[in-house]
Point group: C2
Chain length 430, copies 2
């Protein structure tokens, strides 16, 4: 299959090699804990086995392979001007426990397929092109995610490096153990990147539901986590009259429903979700009126202003839920909050044009999940391409993206990288 570019580009680029791409997915996904597919936890022997596979494949496609001091695996294809800033793509090869076959590796293997296609087109690139397997994007045993991209963005400080993981091993030690050099962590920080484009599965149902094969990420949502605790009075289920109770589970129930209902007002601000995923109802006896209820709330917003407005509303909702059930709101604690990261508008336009040139419908949509691209945005222009996820399932064995959807997304990535190379770039923002 050849890709006929738009008249402006007046170029023919061969589509990615479907067969090789499918073989790569099969080979890398097969490196999994046998009794818990699909699991390849960061820092584990299986993770290192996966990286050996990637190193070999990178080398076969002509990339120069190295690990940076933050433990990122980097394959580099030199361009005509080695001093030109780098065009970068990639994602991660680690998984959650019992995860899927696509989350993470799609961005590496489609990146590899895109580079193969670019080389096959034979134009020669001006800029160096780098393909990165970022270390430990998923929440790791050290309680931290996006470890490698944090390192590349200069956001891996002494506090993070001192975190203790299994057996008391520090993160610093673990990074060095897998081939990084945590004593020289600052050397991982990059200021020579012109642009970063990450391909990833959507992990949500929107593209499939709308029948659109290509998602162009408008931004990565900010995330706020809170703990909300209601306290009432534990009592005997048979002897406490209904009108004399303070049942904390009912305050939590009111709050959770109110929380969801209040998100309706925020949908116009872009991606906005609120989830009560963890419920602890105490003491949890069949014959005891619950005396306490604690809920963990996860809120994600494309708009920081919308998040802030909603948090104010949430405090009112929680208090009124407590009051309505004669309970007390004893905790309303923000555990963490990250700001939203808009994707670079110019990069989004290049991706959209590439999709159009290839004849694929595309859709701008925000990412509710965090990604390495959010940390890369701190040092360069950053954007993402999404491929559809069947029924939106992800982080589970049922995670599925059609091979042809992956190939299409890889085609769009290839053309995007080529068009970025044709633009002449100065050094990145870092």
């Amino acid at each position: 299959m050849n890709i006929v570019l738009s008249p402006e580009a007046s170029t023919v680029l061969p589509g990615v090699d479907r067969q090789q791409l499918a073989a790569d997915f099969e080979a890398l996904a097969a490196i999994t804990e046998p009794h818990k597919p699909w699991t390849r936890r960061s820092f584990s022997p299986l993770f290192l086995e996966g990286r050996e596979f990637l190193k070999a494949r990178f080398a076969e496609e002509g990339l120069t392979v190295r690990l940076d001091t933050a433990g990122n695996l980097i394959g580099r294809l030199e361009g005509a001007n080695p001093a030109a800033p780098v065009i970068m793509t990639g994602s991660h090869s680690d998984t959650v426990p019992g995860g899927g076959r696509f989350d993470g590796i799609a961005g590496i293997l489609c990146g590899l397929a895109a580079i193969r296609a670019l080389k096959a087109a034979g134009h020669g690139l001006h800029h160096p092109l780098e393909l990165v397997d970022f270390l430990a994007e998923e929440p790791s045993e050290w309680g931290l995610s996006c470890i490698g991209s944090r390192g590349m963005a200069g956001a891996l400080g002494d506090g993070e490096l001192a975190l203790a993981g299994p057996g008391g091993e520090t993160l610093a030690h673990a990074i060095t153990r897998i081939g990084g050099d945590s004593a020289q962590i600052a050397a991982a920080r990059r200021s020579d990147v012109a642009a970063f484009v990450e391909l990833h599965i959507e992990q949500g149902p929107v593209l499939e539901a709308r029948g659109v094969p290509v998602g162009i990420v408008s931004g990565i949502a900010g995330i706020c986590r809170l703990k909300v605790r209601f306290e009432g009075v534990p009592a005997h289920a048979g002897t406490a009259p209904m009108d004399m109770r303070a049942d904390a589970s009912l305050a939590a129930a009111r709050f959770a429903l109110g929380l969801r209902n209040a998100t309706r007002d925020q949908q116009a601000t872009g991606l906005f979700t609120a989830t009560a995923g963890v419920w602890q109802i105490e003491p949890g006896g069949a014959n005891v009126v619950p005396g306490a209820a604690e809920i963990t709330v996860d809120i994600r917003a494309e708009s920081d202003a919308a998040m802030t407005a909603y948090l104010t509303q949430l405090a009112v909702l929680a208090q009124s839920a407590a009051d309505a059930e004669s309970c007390r709101l004893t905790r309303l604690q923000q555990l963490s909050r990250t700001r939203a990261t808009p994707c670079d508008p110019a990069l989004q336009a290049v991706i959209a044009e590439a999709a159009r040139a290839l004849g694929h419908a595309s859709l701008p949509l925000a990412s509710g999940a965090g990604h390495d691209a959010a940390f890369l945005a701190r040092i360069t222009r950053s954007a993402m391409i999404f491929a559809p996820s069947h029924e939106g399932r992800s982080h589970c064995p049922e995670e599925w993206t059609e091979p042809e959807d992956l190939a299409r997304a890889a085609d769009v990535l290839a053309l995007t990288l080529m068009q970025l190379d044709r633009q002449r770039h100065d050094a990145g923002r870092g």
Copy 2:
């Protein structure tokens, strides 16, 4: 203190010995697991230590002490006519883990105080009087409650006796171990009881809230337990749009609120409670939309008809909660149901008259908790006297009843037993 009876009774009965009663409470409550007050679990060495104390006290007050084959400790005071049917009182000396100082022993120690007062009055009784410490009224390690009163009612069958407890010991073995004789369990069944009156703490807040010292139990509620399970679709908290979710926790929240609201229609039928005490929200990750929610519901009703009507309504509520949240109702299972037990109206009248004669306000109220009196109702006329519980707390170390409230209830019990003795009874119903 002397009690001047109503003109009809034309008798003076000394009030119970306050000092001795308080000393008995102090001594028996002190037999507790030292690091987990107040705990005296049935079948345990501490439980047997408590019984040794009771045997000694029973004997000191002139009672003949024996254990029946179901493991009930029985103290008997002969009347003028040993062949007359028995007037019985009592309760239980076992506790829940980390329970209170009154639940159970109040009925035994106030019974003992009442007998002492009756003897002090020097009238001589016509009927034999028995004071019983029923075996294992609280849920035991064998998963069964009211073991002794079941045995006395002929309701301890092979199925129950075969239940396995700690270390695999059968209930049959355990009953024999503590002095019963499970091979002769049928011998525990009684048909010679004219009336049973149990004194117990209320375990609820009604008497205290109304400022009334004596509760006359109108009936013991029927109890129904159900498991209700909602299933939705687990999804990523950031990537699943709000309008494409099936969040099982929200179906559970709607159901729990609906369940409570629907009890309002039942309050006119007498005691009616519904409690969702156990909530299991799955998978329970902060970043995962809950895919399943399972709730255990406890319903108690004085009226069996009201319970039946409510169960029908509950099924509709559960289905509509599931529908409203795009979830499925995958389980609506009745785990158990016991019928309500009305207390004997004539016995209630005797108690009310005794309270009136003693100048104590009384209040009819139903018991939402189960009691040995419910099993005794299968073989004889059965009724209960409640003493106020501070703030309705029970089954916890904060459980409290004022000493004078216990003494007043014991006075009412003493006069009730005396009046019952003056009525001439034929054998019980059994």
